[in-house]
Symmetry: C2
Subunit: 328 residues, 2 copies
């Protein structure tokens, strides 16, 4: 029995979203559009310098399963929060969205992870993440029954940073392989790719069926500047690759060849946080439901288009209704 | 020396904002558009039933001083949070907005107050508030030097619910009167008015120069159904009354007579949370800067129009820039 369209593993993170100008990023040494890791003391310092903020549950794979559920899909999540207020917020939002979430919280350790997200006037987000309790995720938190009950397992590349996360990543992939469950992953961030290039490539070739990446990440992975060369290299490693190119849409590479799909037109880009996560949500939901790649990509662009129109990394409008309105 | 345009006292609250349908309000026995008080156990229960949420610093007077600061005014705030994550969030947002905030947090007591806000598809908000640590505010937290340094003191009617809040309210008013500082207040909510009618009326006559209210509150105060009668009664009690009427704008009653000012046209009402608070922010900023009543009301409508266009009770666009764009 497959109870879940998607079961995802990720760093369980609460987003702290504030507006900032480009000069702030320069002053604080933040690489625009990237995700950088910070320790608790720097998190306090940087937070103190940021503007008024909104808090919203985030975490890349967490956002993705929330999106899958918003499409009407069934999803489960594995990730570690602390036994604190922000952890309660994260768990509530998962369950309120209809996602199964039962990873026990960390007691007596670090606080729930948070990502300090500075959004510049162009809508681009720059993230500084304190991993806190999310680091405490280990292979023991990976419930084999959950993985076996999935049509697709989804792993975020960010998990390559903490040791326990990498172990959980490998454990989930092994259980999935033994059970014949397809494994998907996202490269997450160009700097993550730089930090873990060899490990990511080996893992992909060994265990991954579907890879999500954006243009910068796939170029970083193969250390080339040419998009077509990078995309071709990626296609040679996995069965399905979906590469997003921002406003230019996405390219799906598979045994069927190369398929370019345009992005959804958007009125105004407010905050790009979660765009890639929601693209993956739509694509995975389509894949789990046996839809052709063109529809998968369109569902992905639809979800990404919704989430960049407001602050916060998860849909505020039911994606199921949006998809129906588009005849998807 | 008057260092602050506005010094405000209020219940320091973090908002938890989710979407809900009208049937949910009926099922949970919530009076649409109102603020109801709940205890911690009901807060956990209701939160568990709510949808995915956003967290944002709120509290009526807190929202108002954040608005004053957004107009470029100087402001200070007095209100009690706990020594916990949500308390840190509240304090950060106050200071990040440029508001002076130095009330010591409560240690070892209740958690930071939170208001569970269900927003229906018409944009109307219904609030269920667990007062938590905000109840621990007492007259001792009212720094006399801060009150004396204000052009206007602003008090929220919600403070009439907790005993300590009422005492802080009275203390601030007394210090203000002795120092010749004008006192303003908002009636906050029709149910608050019902609970404390006599006390509010006595306090208004004794100590208040400027009153903010909406139509329902002023009718509740005088227990009449006729708006004009209620407004006239209010005008007989205080020097200045500004009464908001939703999309119909507001009416300013003063020694100059009665002035009706239309609301700012809004593209789409997303979430009315904070509309009254921001009206007060604009009006108070105008008053502190010696602007005519018509301008004060227009500044109020401008700020209210900004805040109802998005989720969250505080401005996301600098009100100073919006006012300049309107020639205000």
């Amino acid at each position: 029995m497959t109870a879940y369209d998607v079961v995802a593993l990720g760093n369980a993170i609460v987003d702290v979203i504030a507006q900032a100008d480009d000069a702030f990023l320069v002053r604080e040494g933040l690489a625009k559009g990237s995700m950088g890791l910070i320790d608790e003391s720097r998190a306090h310092e940087l937070y103190g310098l940021m503007g008024q903020a909104l808090e919203a549950s985030g975490g890349s794979a967490g956002n993705t399963v929330a999106g899958v559920a918003s499409f009407g899909g069934s999803a489960a999540y594995i990730g570690k929060v602390a036994d604190d207020q922000l952890g309660e917020v994260f768990a509530h939002d998962m369950r309120a969205g209809g996602v199964h979430y039962a990873t026990p919280p960390l007691v007596g350790g670090a606080a729930t992870a948070r990502s300090l997200i500075n959004v510049t006037p162009d809508g681009e987000r720059t993230m500084s993440t304190f991993l806190g309790a999310s680091i405490a995720l280990t292979a023991r938190d990976v419930d084999p029954a959950l993985i076996r009950a999935a049509k697709l397992v989804y792993l975020e590349g960010y998990l390559f940073d903490p040791d326990g996360g990498r172990a959980a990543f490998a454990a989930a992939a092994e259980i999935a392989r033994d059970a014949g469950v397809r494994v998907s992953m996202t490269l997450s961030d160009a700097f993550v790719v730089d930090r873990h290039r060899a490990g990511l490539l080996a893992f992909m070739e060994d265990a991954v069926d579907v890879v999500f990446a954006n243009e910068a990440e796939v170029k970083a992975l193969f250390e080339v500047d040419d998009f077509d060369a990078a995309a071709a290299a990626l296609a040679s490693k996995v069965k399905i690759a979906a590469v997003t190119r921002g406003a230019a849409g996405s390219v799906v590479l598979s045994g069927d060849g190369r398929l370019a799909v345009p992005a959804e037109p958007v009125e105004r880009v407010v905050d790009t946080t979660g765009a890639g996560d929601q693209y993956a949500a739509g694509f995975l939901f389509g894949l789990a439901r046996g839809r052709p790649f063109a529809d998968c990509a369109r569902l992905g662009h639809l979800a990404a288009g919704e989430v960049i129109g407001h602050y916060g990394p998860r849909p505020q409008t039911a994606l199921k209704a949006l998809a129906e309105a588009k005849g998807l």
